[in-house]
């Protein structure tokens, strides 16, 4: 169930970004820190989200997918903290309705998914341990 929630989140976020890819790239470039790498980073983010979503779909790769989800959530949260501490009015480059969230709401949203990923990892590890 946890992995399906992440599949929903990552596929939704990736497809939303692809549907308005030009805007996504510009928004990434608006963060001064990311401006020089916005071009290729925009592709890396989308491909990573789709890759993690596909890893989560299969039992054999689910645990790896959950670890990668946790890692991605940490990266996104660090990015939000940097944005919150910078003076620039940087818009969220999250795609779809997620864009409507403020940065502080996003921090709460990410913390929720961070916890969900942790719970998922614990459940998966327990299941693997029980099978062995």
């Amino acid at each position: 169930m946890v992995s399906l929630l992440f599949v929903l989140l990552f596929v939704y976020a990736a497809v939303s970004k692809l549907l308005d890819f030009k805007t996504f790239q510009i928004q990434l470039g608006q963060a001064t820190l990311l401006r020089p790498v916005a071009g290729w980073l925009s592709w890396v983010v989308v491909v990573t989200e789709l890759l993690i979503a596909s890893l989560l779909c299969f039992v054999k790769t689910r645990l790896l997918g959950l670890y990668m989800s946790l890692f991605l959530m940490i990266l996104f949260t660090v990015y939000i903290v940097i944005i919150l501490n910078s003076a620039a009015n940087t818009p969220c480059s999250c795609g779809g309705v997620l864009q409507a969230l403020g940065w502080k709401d996003h921090l709460i949203f990410n913390s929720f998914f961070f916890l969900i990923a942790l719970i998922g990892i614990l459940i998966q590890r327990k299941q693997k341990y029980n099978l062995n």
């Binding site: 939704y12 470039g29 620039a88 309705v97």
Partner: protein, 81 residues
Amino acid sequence: MKTKVFKFILPLLVIVMAVSFAFATNSTSDNQIAHYFDPLFGWQSVVIGDECGPVGENACEFMGKQLYSQPTTESIALRKD
């Protein structure tokens, strides 16, 4: 057998649902692209909300720089109320 079908069908359904949601919410964005001149990097693009337009009392700026509708100073200088 039933479980195997369930395990295969469920993620597929979720993916279809996510793609549908993405298409359904795509048109809700009110963002527009504006441009400003940076002395160091040249013309830069920014995504702004719908508060900026051709008329208004105040200049629409990004980090203190005037925003334009196109990457040229001859285009519309965006303003807001």
